[in-house]
Assembly symmetry: C2
Homo-oligomer: 669 residues x 2
């Protein structure tokens, strides 16, 4: 990777959120990240929080400052030009600058005081050595009608086009505008992307935040992101409120800025994770940060003006920093949904915004990984999780009706057995068949019960289910008719034998995971439609299924079960079989000529070499790495979804597990 320029690598995903690594001029930031807004005029106040302290003590890797303010102060301007921004602010991380757009909006662009020349301000940002400079876009608040919003957008894009030749080595941020007109937001995002921008703020959202229109904000973010595509680092401009951060991150916002940490502090307002308290009302400080662990509420109140502001600013920034770390931790862990749902419990406007996610299930589902470490159903909100929609679709499309019940494996119902119950999932006999009843998905085949999301499901007992889940459970139960009794795992063994049932189950799981090609199921392709041709290898210790082999092919190993999510990983032999009988892009990641040879040796696939990919591919999926001529080089696990692989210029697309020249030996079994 060149130390110059700007790149963005996605390493983990959860919902539409992601952990990214933004590199600008050799300096890197782990996202989602929040950049404190630094006002250079305030740095000399007594006790002021400095950018150096933000970096060394608090871990902020990026800050933002306003070039318009710097340019306005004669002395400051000269120092910035002579020293450069990094020395001026004493900050060796990434520095972004804003252009004065927001000032123009607040004070009116007719105001001569805030008159800014679009090209001069870009050149100025370049000349002071900003890492990411912002064009002078046209701020479009929510109350601007369609025609005006379109005209503003055209102005923004004209200025953007004109600014590019003046940017020099600086990265140029081109804000997405369009007001609350969703097609304009998408169009604006697409235009920014087409201009070759490497960094995109989503602008014009401050009025939405100020009026608590968080549900509307959700729509705006999704519309903008649809235009920007998954590979672009997206900055939600002006959104630094603690509550908004998890939700916006879950929608794919990567960067945030906050001036509120300091503005609130100047007003005595003390941030917590879910609200703001006033220092005058507080008897104690419910926070363990370095400020609050060394002072009590009375200490803060008795400080003189600027010292008090500085102390509360530090606290507020510690809170914001911890929230960002919590978001990143949740993404790595796959528990971002839970964090978002909790932030929805902070006030009615946030609750509405969380419910609004259900309008964007398709968008989120496309970005969301195939599996996560936990899958928690806490409230009826959880029904909006993209995994539910995805799994329901897969069940409907991939499992043939005849295979939803297993008449020949189950003893006649009627006998009383120990019920096989986990949470509110209840495995039951129906007349001559067996299903596991899962609350929010109706009746699902017992054979897929150990696959994700069911494998990771954390849900309450039937009696304490939230109301909508309870009614789904009840209607699933009643749809089965009256002849239902609880199923014991032993019933299956007695009726059919463990081996026979497990072979059937492995085939159905294969079909559920890999779907079908031109009407022929993946189980059919791999096992010739007959589970009898499967040889199962179980763990010696636990007895659980581990590997699937094909005796007809000399006992070759085709599938391994991933313990963490109950999905299969595809072995080289399995990949070859699937590849030989399919085409048309099925499970394919198509790479540039010449690069497949590296993948064949076991090296990972980089996004920049991906030409195309099966649009059904999600992060965590098993994929076949092929060239334009459909020559198979490797099999591995996708790091990002299809759209991101195609779009992104940096980062890993596929972690190759086995390649043509480097197949792994069979696991000891």
């Amino acid at each position: 990777m060149s130390p110059e320029g700007c790149s963005f690598e996605i390493t983990h995903t959860d919902l539409a959120g992601r952990i990214g690594r933004l590199s600008v001029n050799g300096r890197t930031v782990t996202t989602p990240a929040l950049m404190p807004v630094v006002n250079p005029n305030l740095l000399s106040l007594p006790g002021a929080l400095t950018p150096a302290e933000m970096r060394s003590d608090m871990g902020f890797e990026m800050i933002i400052t306003n070039s318009y303010i710097i340019r306005k102060g004669k002395e400051l301007k000269d120092r910035a030009l002579s020293m450069g921004l990094h020395d001026l602010l004493d900050f060796d991380g990434v520095i972004m600058t804003d252009s004065g757009t927001f000032q123009s909006y607040v004070y009116g662009s007719g105001d001569r005081e805030v008159e800014v020349d679009p090209l001069e301000i870009v050149e100025f940002q370049r000349d002071i050595g900003s890492d990411i400079g912002t064009i002078l876009d046209r701020f479009t608040p929510p109350d601007v009608g369609y025609e005006d919003a379109l005209a503003y957008l055209n102005t923004t894009m004209e200025r953007a086009g004109a600014s590019v030749p003046h940017k020099g080595e600086m990265e140029l941020a081109i804000p997405v505008q369009g007001g609350v007109h969703m097609d304009l937001r998408t169009r604006s995002g697409a235009a920014v992307r087409e201009l070759g921008a490497a960094y995109a703020p989503i602008g014009g959202v401050v009025p939405l935040l100020e009026s608590y229109s968080y549900a509307r904000l959700v729509d705006v973010i999704v519309a903008a992101k649809k235009g920007l595509g998954p590979a672009m680092p997206a900055h939600l401009f002006g959104a630094g409120h603690p509550m908004v951060l998890p939700l916006a991150s879950a929608l794919g916002c990567d960067l945030f800025d906050s001036a509120s940490y300091a503005k609130f502090a100047a007003d005595g307002r003390y941030m917590t994770q879910d609200r703001t308290l006033h220092i005058e009302d507080m008897e104690e400080l419910p926070c363990p940060c370095p400020v609050c662990s060394r002072n009590d509420a009375k200490d803060l109140r008795s400080m003189s003006g600027s010292l008090r502001t500085a102390a509360i600013s530090r606290h507020n920034l510690w809170v914001l920093g911890s929230i960002m770390a919590s978001i990143r931790t949740a993404i790595r862990e796959g528990t971002l949904w839970e964090l978002v749902e909790r932030s929805g419990a902070t006030n009615p406007s946030m609750a509405s915004a969380v419910r609004k996610l259900s309008d964007h299930t398709d968008y989120i589902e496309r970005e969301a990984p195939r599996s996560t470490r936990r899958f928690m159903c806490v409230s009826d909100h959880s029904l909006d999780r993209p995994e539910f929609t995805r799994t329901a679709n897969d069940l409907a499309e991939r499992i043939p009706p005849a295979q939803k019940a297993f008449t020949h494996f189950i003893r006649e119902p009627g006998a009383s057995h120990r019920p096989h119950v986990e949470g509110s999932a209840r495995a039951v006999h129906v007349a001559g068949g067996a299903v596991a009843v899962i609350t929010p998905l109706g009746a699902i085949p017992y054979a897929v019960w150990e696959m994700y999301p069911f494998s990771q499901l954390v849900i309450s007992e039937v009696d304490s289910l939230p109301p909508a889940m309870r009614s789904l459970y009840d209607s699933a139960m009643s749809s089965l008719g009256p002849d239902v009794c609880d199923l014991d795992e032993a019933d299956i063994v007695n009726a059919a034998g463990r081996e026979e049932f497990d072979r059937f189950k492995a085939a159905l799981m294969t079909r559920m995971q890999f779907g079908s090609y031109e009407g022929r199921g993946a189980d059919d392709i791999l096992f010739g439609g007959s589970p009898d041709r499967i040889e199962l290898v179980r763990s010696r210790r636990t007895g659980k299924l581990r590997n699937v082999k094909l005796p007809s092919r000399g006992g070759e190993h085709v599938l391994s079960l991933r313990a963490q999510d109950g999905l299969f990983s595809l072995k080289w032999k399995g990949a070859q079989l699937l590849h030989a009988s399919t085409g048309g892009g099925y499970m394919r990641v198509i790479v540039e000529d010449g690069t497949g040879e590296f993948n064949a040796k076991g090296y990972n696939v980089f996004n920049k070499f991906v030409l195309d990919a099966d649009p059904g591919i999600r992060a965590g999926d098993e994929v076949l790495v092929v060239d334009r001529e459909d020559g198979l080089y490797a099999v591995g696990k996708a790091v990002v979804g299809a759209a991101a692989m195609i779009d992104a210029k940096a980062g890993i697309a596929v972690k190759v597990r086995e390649g043509r020249d480097k197949a792994l030996p069979d696991e000891a079994s």
Copy 2:
């Protein structure tokens, strides 16, 4: 207050939770508080967290240690006896000791290793100078049947009775047992109270916590608290998990202990507010505490065993301490419900427990204050808030049907006006009348719209209401029939004049707040049933109602509006009028002979002088202070509810505003 002995003063309430001040031997603790469990054998390990550090750096005012462990180690025992516990542990806050009950439970009481003599262990705790020693009770886990649980309970109470003469100056903690048999829990609580205990642990709950049976835990706490009464400081023994603390505090638990901060740490488990992470899995530390702000995850991992344990212990304890401070902050602010609702979003078991609160609305309502600073409706859970039940009851009982619509104040419907809407509350015309439609309470009279809880209501717009609230809103709307249109405040003014309507409203508000005596409404008593006899005083600045006077009585001031909650405070003249026409305990707090004279001079009423109180009194209510002969001395605001005033031996019952000898002058108007 004597420096010796044990007292507990309640200063703020929210739900059934409270801020208390526990004083033992002149040492005080602000509750709800968590006491770290200290194992004296581990204090000499390198880097170990000491009790002195817990107090001076982290602010813990109370710790707990195990007398059984101290007594077992010969050398430790001798040092404890010669130095005393406070010097041994170098801790000058309150020290509680446990007796070995839990060890007997875990290792079996038949085990000679954990054999403990019930009286010897009490004497030992006394001799080493414990502030609060615990009897050797019989641990009763949830799987013990009724008969055995009763027998265990009898054993516990026999030991308790026998232990009292041996306690010396030490306070004796007598745990409430009874397993999951709710009547036994209540009986056990009552027995502990009757024995004169000043401090009550609720024991036997660890197995419930370990099996995530939080909903069951809710029942157990409520049953125990019903026996203990509101005045007793209640300690939820063994419950130190972050998630449980807000809910248990809301049910009236005042003290908690945690060994988990250290046990988890020894296992590399890192606490957050909502879950536990393993340090081996963490890339960063999402916490700003002194440990996490100076180290990163890698630093912690690379520490040697005991140093790593000590560092994570410190972090865990900082988290627990902040949670307790957040709970206390929420109680003072009146936002504990919101905190509980958020903790319900952490996992399905907690969600069930939060839903379980609806089974105990009566209990919580009795303890909950009359008003809080905010009243937030975030999800359908919020329908379980005790304020809803209370207000619905008051509306049904106190507002006569004829006064629910105000035909004569409203112009005929049909004209189109600017709708008067706040959140999802919608003021509407019905044919010839006006009501404000409030989602979760159906149609409420427009005249009470500015009273608590409506005055503090934070709720979303109709279109984004959660489902159950939405359906309540819809059915309230449809119950009004088809002739409904939006109401503008101006309609009222135009049709009847502001003055006439406001007098009507003041009368209805009086009746809603103070109810009636023997069928006669408080408005009738104060104003002779005719609002025409009221003189209103408005704020010069805002035009809002401030005072109610009676022209017929020489313009005497009877009521003032409390700006914070839209409820009235009662002036001395109003108190006299209400007192003169009522009896039978209505609004009365009856104080001991001779003490009323002090209240007449304006001094507050202390709980210890309260003989009886109107069972309808809640914290925040206006009350009449009388003696046994119903002589009126003062009027003021209750600090706690009726049951707590009668029960409690310490603390303030009523903040006297005006007394017979010290009435306040009329406010400038």
